[in-house]
Symmetry: C2
Subunit: 152 residues, 2 copies
């Protein structure tokens, strides 16, 4: 890595990795070109439990290893338990922050930090891919439960 490498930062839970995740990450990297470095922050189990009332199905270390095993991802790191966006930006020093279609709160907080601190970074919103049912971890879980309920 040279000093000129552009770093893109994305984040998420990535419980039950699906095709929508791949498209999101590919699009995030595309924002800064093929030579950029894509770093992904993986939400901690405790953070998800606190915010959603229930933890992810897949433990954080497995979620992290799976995301890092993707060709498009250069590095995947576990986040801070208290979702300290300023500390993450300080540590990764991204040129671009990519936020997903369902990351309103993260986008709002990121833009506020960027404005308050006068940071030179671009916040990019990545659209949703298709309307297909299985581009969402919760819909995948719904289908699994439905299969179980209708078992012979």
């Amino acid at each position: 890595m040279t000093a000129m490498t552009v770093t893109v930062l994305a984040s998420g839970v990535f419980d039950l990795l699906h095709y929508g995740h791949i498209r999101f990450l590919e699009e995030a990297k595309r924002q800064a070109g093929p030579d950029s470095r894509l770093v992904v922050i993986i939400a901690r189990d405790r953070t998800v439990r606190r915010l959603k009332g229930r933890g992810p199905v897949i433990p954080e270390d497995h979620r992290r290893a799976l995301v890092e095993a993707l060709e498009v991802v250069d590095e995947a790191l576990l986040g801070y338990e208290d979702v300290d966006l300023e500390a993450v930006i300080e540590r990764i020093r991204p040129d671009v922050i990519a936020v997903g279609y369902d990351q309103d709160e993260i986008e709002r907080r990121t833009r506020r930090i960027v404005e308050e601190r006068g940071l030179k970074l671009r916040v990019v919103r990545i659209g949703r891919f298709g309307k297909e049912d299985l581009n969402s971890s919760s819909k995948i879980k719904g289908k699994i439960v439905e299969n179980w309920r209708s078992r012979p």
Copy 2:
């Protein structure tokens, strides 16, 4: 790719991609060294439905795209609906075929074809990784159903 590239072939359903899958594929590739080419055959929806009585949760084109998005995988292809191992071997011309700990039937059929046709290829059995609960798609599904049943 030169004529000297060693090709490793692996196969599976890869419904709900998990850490055990990654370890299996990495170990498969390791059998033939870092310069080898890893080709993965993804079981068709109809094949899984026929053999297990129920199709996968994730459709075949998404399962294929997800496996191909892994850094360790060079190419992922949908299989033949009738699981024609001879046709697959003819098409891919692998030097090594890696079989998973739960692929007894595939191992048996592969070894028979290799013997009958006098093929110069190595069949390698890849062990299971850890005894952790979440290295199995069916255990992940079980946990999702359990979460749903105990919802508040």
